[in-house]
């Protein structure tokens, strides 16, 4: 085990830690928004159902935050432990956003503590709602700052090279590099849609298991509506990301689209596989759509992979990552739209079993889309860690113990993942919403079918 390639092990350990952290980080960005919306409606309409929603979501959130914080601390330290050469060089240019991210965490952590322990301490419920805003903002800011770092790795700017080191550093230009706008937009919207979708999935699941109560119906309506809004924005942001790639990182788009020759009016290819001549087989083909995706013009020219030397081409399998992500994006949009249409027309039932199952599926699928999206983005940057300047190979640690560390962390994440799930299940199983509602708000009628 000791003689495994340290670079490979470094990549695996980072993939694993980030792949695990991103689940909880996404929840940390999106769930506060959902809690805040629910509490706001609850206070505004004086509707205990919504306030109960906010309370119960917040209670589950504490658990996922804890895992988010510890895995985030892990990745933060691992950046230096696993990629020391990268941090030594890039630290000169990107430490500003990393540093500001810590302030965002600080801000978020402080107000989260206040929010969670002051439900009934203020005379006006509105005051308590105000405390949720810094949490939403803090979570959003941390996503923004870390995403600028990732954007920098894709389109590095804000420095000059002198004797193999970065000189004349301008941290602000580095932060606002060309990849930043589309990436930040897409990461934020995708985090919000994912959290709305996972909460919708929970409500749908409850309604499939038991008779639908008012509480769950309201939860479903709220979460699916938010899903719809952010699914639309995510699709727009994804389109912008593709346009960004076409302009600044065309080898990534070309690899993701199996687009080998530069041509006008390029077709969009989905799924399928490549034969020996690198010809796509059994694919879905959408005429000229790739040109549109890349430049908003069906006849525009799209750069093909042939223009890039062999050694800097990303792996071709990222095609599937791209396709799966987009397919899920369209699925989320379609399902939430269907629900909204059904609920608008009186005589149709938006709570029919088939639709509930689809809504239930959209939660886990959204998380898969997040993972696929990141794999596309990171794998599509290969072989670079800082595109054009430093390869992954040059950046990795030289320590021979990295293989051992991989297994250690794998064990840790298995334990954390399991215990987190078990704790969350127990928490809500032993304390169903209906009972809690009655206890806290004895005045309202029990949530029957109305």
């Amino acid at each position: 085990m000791m003689n495994v390639d340290p670079v490979l092990m470094s990549r695996l350990i980072t993939t694993m830690t980030l792949g695990f952290h991103i689940i909880f980080a996404t929840l940390g960005v999106g769930i506060p928004l959902m809690i805040s919306i629910a509490e706001f409606i609850g206070v505004k309409k004086k509707d205990p159902h919504y306030r109960m929603l906010a309370r119960r979501w917040a209670r589950g959130f504490v658990i996922t935050v804890a895992v988010g914080v510890v895995t985030g601390t892990a990745i933060g330290l691992q950046l230096s432990l696993v990629w020391p050469e990268f941090m030594q060089v890039a630290g000169n240019v990107i430490s500003l956003p990393l540093f500001m991210e810590v302030f965002a965490f600080f801000f978020e952590a402080i107000f989260l503590g206040m929010y969670l322990y002051t439900w009934d301490r203020f005379k006006k419920p509105f005051t308590h709602w105000l405390l949720s805003l810094p949490v939403v903002i803090g979570g959003g800011l941390s996503a923004i700052f870390i995403t600028t770092v990732n954007a920098f790795m894709n389109t590095p700017e804000g420095f000059t090279m002198a004797n193999g080191a970065f000189a004349a550093v301008n941290p602000i230009t580095a932060m606002f590099n060309p990849a930043t706008p589309s990436k930040v937009f897409h990461v934020l919207t995708s985090a919000y849609v994912t959290c709305a979708a996972i909460l919708a999935a929970i409500s749908a699941f409850m309604m499939l298991r038991k008779k639908a109560s008012d509480y769950h119906k309201k939860a479903l309506k709220l979460t699916v509506t938010v899903t719809f809004i952010f699914a639309s924005l995510t699709a727009i942001a994804g389109d912008l990301s593709a346009k960004f790639l076409a302009e600044h990182q065309s080898e990534k788009l070309a690899a993701a689209e199996w687009h080998f020759e530069t041509e006008k009016g390029a077709d969009l290819i989905m799924f399928g596989w490549l034969d020996e001549q690198n010809e796509p087989r059994y694919e879905f083909r959408f005429p000229k759509l790739l040109s549109f995706l890349a430049h908003s013009d069906f006849n525009s020219e799209v750069t093909g992979l042939e223009e890039f030397p062999e050694e800097v081409r990303p792996p071709l399998w990222i095609h599937y990552m791209f396709d799966l992500m987009t397919a899920i994006g369209i699925f989320l949009l379609a399902v939430s739209m269907l629900y909204l249409i059904l609920s608008k027309v009186k005589k149709w039932n938006e709570h029919n079993k088939g639709l509930l199952i689809l809504i239930f599926l959209s939660g886990p699928l959204a998380f898969l889309a997040i993972e696929f999206g990141w794999i596309l983005a990171e794998e599509g940057r290969q072989p670079w860690i800082i595109r054009g300047y430093m390869t992954v190979e040059e950046a990795a640690t030289s320590s021979p113990y990295i293989g051992l560390m991989f297994w250690l962390f794998l064990g840790l994440y298995i334990v954390l993942g399991t215990l987190c799930t078990v704790t969350l299940r127990k928490m809500f199983r032993s304390n169903p919403a209906e009972e809690e509602l009655e206890k806290l708000y004895p005045t309202i009628e029990k949530g029957d079918d109305s």
């Binding site: 209670r59 933060g76 432990l81 050469e85 540093f99 704790t423």
Partner: protein
């Protein structure tokens, strides 16, 4: 002051902040477990969880702040410490991860588990022990670079009296700081039985704290003569430290002004910690990294300092609000809310 001097001062202040808040947290974990096995948990654990629940995440950020800041201001640290610390650093991460998440599982989940409690208590001592190793390494002699390859001399580290004296000092300090804080908190809560118990702990751990400090001081003279002499030149800082220690002891002993006693302990560690740090300069890692040569570009240094000031303007009011809600709100502390 040059920007690298501002940088290291800011980082050192945050490390000091972490030392205090994390010691309270780590020690509390140990005491909670100890109370449980000695069947005194009904006396203490309510007190501990009322304070810890709202703030544990904030404690963690202090630490994150420090290591992100060090690599930001002094990127060379990533090359040396990053490579050398892969194994000990990973172990520290895992301990921190176990501690943080198990605290949440235990406290907010419905089940009370003895295993969680044990891990929570044990990590409370193991984490300071492992983190204090980083300070030992900075003295030089343990991290070496040969032919461009950085490595850590484990055998030398684990057989060195200085490194063990630091571990010992870290553990007893944690227990001492934590006990004085809990004494203050119990007094505020008017919780007589808990107060008697934690005050006893505070008095008990005071003597080992002083012994451990002296031992570490002497061991340092054997290991890094330069640093030792630099610290002797700063004798007045250590004198002040001992002075505040004596004030704290007197107050604890007489059983009054526990708030003041805790503040004195904070000053005791403040002067010792800054005396140690000032003597350490200009080295961040003896002999490879100094604050001037290892510093980041000037433009980044300024940007970080500006970000820092802006960040403080945001944080200080928020921290004050947090403390007013959970530390100084008498009703909350007493458990009425």
């Amino acid at each position: 002051m040059s920007y690298e001097m501002i940088g290291i001062t800011v980082l050192w202040i945050f490390l000091y902040g972490y030392l205090i808040v994390a010691s309270v947290d780590f020690g509390a974990g140990f005491y909670a477990y100890y109370a449980k096995i000695t069947k005194k948990d009904h006396v203490m654990n309510q007190l501990i969880s009322r304070y810890l629940s709202p703030v544990w995440e904030v404690t963690n950020v202090f630490f994150v702040f420090f290591f992100v800041g060090v690599v930001g201001f002094f990127p060379d640290t990533a090359h040396y410490y990053g490579t050398a610390l892969l194994v000990p650093g990973s172990i520290a991460i895992i301990l921190l991860a176990i501690r943080g998440s198990f605290y949440a599982f235990e406290n907010y989940g419905s089940k009370k588990s003895n295993v969680y409690m044990f891990l929570y208590g044990a990590t409370g001592l193991l984490i300071p022990a492992s983190l204090s190793m980083a300070l030992t390494l900075s003295e030089g002699g343990f991290i070496v670079e040969e032919n461009g390859v950085v490595s850590l001399k484990y055998f030398k580290l684990f057989t060195n009296p200085y490194s063990w004296s630091v571990v010992f000092l870290a553990i007893v300090s944690v227990l001492f700081i934590s006990a004085t804080f809990l004494t203050f908190y119990a007094a505020r809560a008017n919780d007589r039985p808990a107060l008697t118990l934690v005050r006893k702990y505070a008095l008990f751990w005071s003597v080992p704290t002083i012994i451990a400090s002296l031992t570490a001081f002497i061991a340092l003279s054997q290991h890094n003569q330069r640093h030792y002499e630099a610290m002797l030149d700063l004798w007045w800082m250590f004198g002040l430290s001992v002075g505040f220690f004596l004030i704290a002891m007197a107050l604890l002993y007489q059983g009054k002004h526990y708030g003041l006693a805790f503040i004195s302990v904070m000053f005791q560690f403040f002067f010792a910690f800054f005396g140690y740090g000032a003597g350490h300069l200009p080295y961040i890692l003896d002999p490879y990294i100094t604050i001037t040569e290892g510093a980041t570009h000037q433009s980044m240094g300024f940007a970080l300092i500006v970000a820092f000031i802006a960040g403080l303007c945001l944080l200080i009011p928020s921290l004050i609000l947090l403390m007013r809600l959970f530390l100084f709100d008498a009703d909350y502390v007493k458990g009425k809310r």
